[in-house]
């Protein structure tokens, strides 16, 4: 970091601010559809941070899986559960307590991070970009069994979700 402020750092801070603002929007905005849109923005910012951290693969996966599939699921759920939602019902009774608790959590985390001495490479040039091939090798050699298990888990979860959401026989 001794070589001053670089372009990537500037981009990182822009993305970080965008990410945090979008996140605040997700948790505060009154309209839940807007909240979902802020969520997309936050995800996109995170994908950008992945890019800055030289992990293009994860950035793509983030956009594909989160930015499209998960968000679409959530939007559908929102539409399905919007029967008589009133704006004043958006926040719980213990809102001040919740804000205080989460701020405390945040403070504890930041304090811990700041107090720790992190050993990082002397120069950012020493950081090797993680290539797609490295990730592929890792997933399909060392992590092949967890990978398969995750695949099975995913299909089971989707089946389960269908079962949960499908109407009962005597339910119509």
């Amino acid at each position: 970091m001794e070589d001053g402020v670089t372009a990537t750092q500037v981009v990182f801070w822009i993305l970080a601010v965008a990410m945090l603002l979008s996140a605040i929007g997700v948790v505060t905005v009154g309209n839940i559809v807007y909240a979902a849109l802020f969520f997309i923005a936050a995800l996109a910012s995170i994908a950008g941070v992945y890019l800055i951290l030289t992990v293009e693969f994860l950035a793509l996966v983030q956009l594909l899986v989160y930015g499209s599939a998960v968000v679409i699921l959530i939007l559908f759920a929102l539409m399905l559960t919007r029967a008589r939602e009133r704006p004043q019902a958006l926040f719980g009774r213990s809102r001040p307590l919740g804000i205080a608790a989460s701020l405390g959590l945040m403070a504890a985390l930041i304090g811990g991070i700041v107090a720790t001495t992190w050993t990082t490479p002397e120069s950012s040039a020493a950081i090797q970009p993680v290539g797609l091939q490295t990730i592929g090798d890792a997933i399909f050699t060392i992590w092949i069994v967890p990978f398969i298990i995750v695949g099975v888990l995913l299909s089971i979860a989707l089946d389960g979700a269908i079962m949960l959401a499908s109407p009962d026989e005597d339910d119509n």
Binding site: L97, S102, G104, L105, A107, A108, G112
Partner: protein, 644 residues
Amino acid sequence: MIWADHAWILPAIPAISFVVLFLFGRKLPRGGDFISVGSALAVFVLFFFVLESHLDWLGAGLGGIRNVGTDWINFDNFVVRLGFTVDSIAIVMIFVVSTVALMVNIYSTNYLRHHGKPEPRYWWYFAVLSLFVSAMLTLVLADNLLLMFVAWEGVGLCSFLLIGFYYERRSAVEAAKKAFVTTRLGDVGLFIGIILFWRATGSFQISDIIAAAEAGRVNDLPQVMGDGYLTLSTLMLFLGAAGKSAQVPFHVWLPDAMEGPTPVSALIHAATMVVAGVYLVARLLPVFEVAPGASNVVLAVGLTTALLAGVMALAQNDIKRVLAYSTVSQLGFMFVALGVGAVGIAMFHLLTHAFFKACLFLGSGSVIHMTEEQDARKLGGLWWRMPVTASTFIISSVALAGIPPLSGFFSKDEIFVATLGGANTVVAILLGLAAFLSALYMARLVIITFFGPAKDLAVIKRAREADPTILIPLVFLTVLTFLVGFVAFDQVGDALGFPGGINNYIYFPEPHDFHFSNSVAAVTGTVSLLGFLTAWWFFWGRNSRRAQALRDFQPRLAAVVENKFYFDEAYQWGIDRAILPLARLVSWFDRMIVNDTGINAPADATRYAAYWLRYHVTGRIPDYALLMVVGVALAGGLAFLLRG
């Protein structure tokens, strides 16, 4: 195959029979009785293989004791063997058990039927009978006290189950309970004795214990008690033996045990289980002889029992009860023999007694089965209606009374010889009195049951000879009663293959040969005849008015005898006055202190606490999440503050 090394097969066969009958007996044809009879037959046949191989070893000079087995429990230095010993004492016992068990099995297939129709729980009877045979053979063969104790309780359980076989009858239930509890009192002593020996020697092996006792190593560790420890342990064992063998003051259960089916009385309460106490003392006699005073206690208890039970038998009117008291009395004879150190003679009397007493019980069962009456006062004149039963019964009675040349004469005579040699004359004279009493009560029983006029027409009409399945065991046992006495002669024993005769075969600490003494034989024979004559004088036909006159002459004394010296009443008094109040106290303590205070109070406290504490559980997920985050934040903050 060396059968003596595979003697475990003997108890295993009836055990299998028990399992099969227990699981499938109800569904098998004839209640599966053929399985029980078959297993008893197999044991009976295999016994001769075991005997032959044992004699082979003995003849080859390889020692008389074969011991095989495996470790049952092996934990650090706590070792319990699942071991089986075949020696001469065990051989005698197996012979008795297998023979009588076979006879009783055959007999029961008929006795447990009413006009050809099986009684309820017929299958269960044979299942328990098999279990009993298995447990009894294990008891006999066990090479250590703990395994023996397990089998000891096993036979006690079977006795309990079979006494209470007719559990619809209240008296049977009471009798079963009484037998169980009374013998249990002795068994506690036995177990304490086993533990005491284990504490001193670190072993349950009978051979180890005998060796340790003879080497004077049975002591409490600080040696405070000295020889007293050995005596105490030995007497504890004897407590168990006395309980099982119904010696005074534990004798009260045996007459009541007659509530069970008669073949059970023959097998368990005459020939096998009740002699387990004799067997135990015989096994451990070297210990008894080393322990100061122990032998004298055995002698005194045996003598008291022989006399008291003989007197009590005089005033009983139930056939089976007379026989039960006679069993108690004869067991007393065996303990007297043990008390003077004559193992072989005690075992010999055990052997002869088993056969004639089993025969007597089976004979009385035959009478009861056909006439449905067991009060001797209502019987009478049966001998020409039931000639086979009557003759076998009379022969066995004569054997019991000790008239030559029947078996009882030889064994009883031996006891007198041993007593004269080992103890003093007073003991012998008292024992002679007991022998006189046995002749008297047996003759009285025979006279009022089989002779004289028929007293009850309905009973005499029902009386006719029983089926062959009942008569064959009777005849077989009578033949044994005739023959078994002669093996006492060394020549006969030698001819049968026992090197040096049966008395050398059965181990003696110091060999007792068979002292057939003409003078003693003449005296004991005369005493027995005198007993018969007295019985004739008092009970034959119209002579019974003399007995009545005697009773009227001393009514209070007669009442004492007829009420069995008020033993039962005394026990009942003790139970009512001491044990029940104590039990109430314990029960109160258990209910109030242990249960209400110790168990319910903490439970109530927990419940009240939970009643109030549960309100912090709202059921709302946001509250849980909030608490979780607060907790994590606090933990993180704490870690931050304590980061060192």
